[in-house]
Amino acid sequence: MMRGIHQNFDQQQAPAFFARGPSPLARLTFFTALSLALMATDSRLQYLADVRENLMTLLHPLQVIANAPSRLYQSTDEYFSTHHYLLAENARLKRQALTQDIALQRLDILSLENANLRNLLQAKQSLTETSILAEIIHVGRDSFTKKIIVNRGKNHHVITGAAAVDAKGVIGQVTRTYPSSSEITLITDKSLAIPVQIERNGLRAIAFGHGRDNTLDLPYLPANVDIKRGDKLVTSGIDGVYPAGLAVATVIEMRTTQDSPFAQIICTPTGGIENDRQVLLVSIPEVKQETATEPLASENSKLPATAAITPAATDTKPAQSPKPAIAEKPAPTPSANVESRPHAQQ
């Protein structure tokens, strides 16, 4: 009270009670209504996407400033890294390069052979993916979602829907692009689904992020499904988003209970989701165009690789799959999700 009167003497204004403007309750109502309207608009309609993009452009210099201290720390840390550490790393990288060189030599021959075979069969050439190397700026600040922000955006031709891959496997998908950064939703996020295939037997399934721990779930699979602990999941590529054959996760637990017809399968992601700085953004261009122009020919079903990149080919089963009877198993529910889920933004 005293304070209010004092201030009003100082400022030669109306008494403090009036100087305060509208009552707190009025303000509360007004701003609550505004927030609710904003939430409804943002979650149900797409009007605010452009606004967000522009504001993010505005925010980018601030982000650079905020990142400066940790960046400085990292660079000085690297600068002062010990001789011993560098030698060890060098040796490790040389070893890695050697093994990869051998694999690459084989890859050259194989891709040549593949091209020849495709020519013989007069099949469409497989699409070449474009990839962009990006660096993680920061981890998502919302603890409810699993997201990372990388330093490549629309200006670098990153498109929404591109797959994010690191040296060990798939880590997520680009869900929002801003001019000079983009948001990647990790495969462990609850809203992201990824079509996978068991490496051992070619069984197809859809892996959903668990959300809380860094794990993935394989729901809707029957209790007698042929999955064991240690099975590796790779991308099946039937969604037209992820290139086929990339490592996704490893099964760590497989549980069946009496009261549920479905198995509980928990997997850990293969990619270094928590500890890498660089990611590769891989996008498969013009998939939709190709499927639209070309009718699904019968030879497509004979070629798993071609069928794999065609979203429309979800129900053609891979002919070379060792256990076709099981390969059909993935329940109808997930395959219905393939179209909608990977592109879905929350």
């Binding site: 009270m1 005293m2 304070r3 004092h6 201030q7 100082d10 400022q11 030669q12 403090a16 100087a19 305060r20 403007g21 707190p24 309750l25 303000r27 509360l28 701003f31 609550t32 505004l34 927030s35 609710l36 309207a37 904003l38 939430m39 608009t41 943002d42 979650s43 605010l48 967000r52 504001l55 993010m56 925010l59 601030l62 982000q63 400033i65 905020a66 990142n67 201290p69 940790s70 700026i137 920061h138 981890v139 998502g140 600040r141 919302d142 603890s143 409810f144 979602t145 997201k147 922000i149 929002r176 948001e183 609850k190 809203s191 959300g211 809380r212 928590e274 929350q346």
Partner: protein
């Protein structure tokens, strides 16, 4: 009178500067355990100014800053804004009593305000389809109130003795 106006301007400037600094702190590349422990600096700064300068910093300020936090977190627009709006409303209606509280009482009140904002956020996130993350979700409130206490013990005036200013 001129002096008062200048003081008022100074105060406004420090409000904006501190809010800006808090926002930059939010933009830091937090990760891992630091992210779980990170106090809601923005809300703390807003609450501080609500107690210190209720005429300059109010529900509207909180709403506006909440929007920026929403942008930075990448969530749906309006979530933090709503949480901050409701929290600051409860701070504003008790503002006159709060400045008369003892420091312990004030601490408890600030703690409950921080918890309230997290609860509102939790409810909003639950509507958006997210799960409860476990009790560690409320740790930022604890670290936040600790930070408040540290700031007070280092001599930050949280409006309790500012009757003459």
């Amino acid at each position: 009178m001129l002096k008062a106006a200048r003081m008022r301007n100074n105060k406004l400037r420090s409000i904006y500067l501190s809010l800006f600094a808090a926002f930059i702190c939010i933009l830091f590349p937090w990760s891992g355990i630091a992210l779980t422990l990170r106090p809601d600096l923005m809300l703390l700064v807003i609450l501080f100014w609500l107690l210190r300068a209720p005429n300059q910093c109010s529900v509207g300020t909180a709403w506006f800053m909440g929007l920026w936090v929403d942008l930075a977190t990448g969530g749906i627009f309006g979530q933090y804004a709503l949480a901050y709006t409701i929290t600051t409303f409860f701070a504003v209606i008790y503002q006159r009593r709060l400045v008369l509280f003892s420091s312990t009482q004030q601490l408890v009140y600030v703690f409950s305000l921080l918890l309230l904002s997290q609860l509102i956020l939790l409810i909003l996130k639950a509507f958006a389809g997210h799960e409860f993350l476990g009790w560690s979700y409320f740790l930022p409130s604890v670290t936040g109130v600790l930070l408040w206490q540290i700031a007070v013990s280092f001599g930050l005036n949280t409006g309790r003795h500012s009757h003459g200013s």
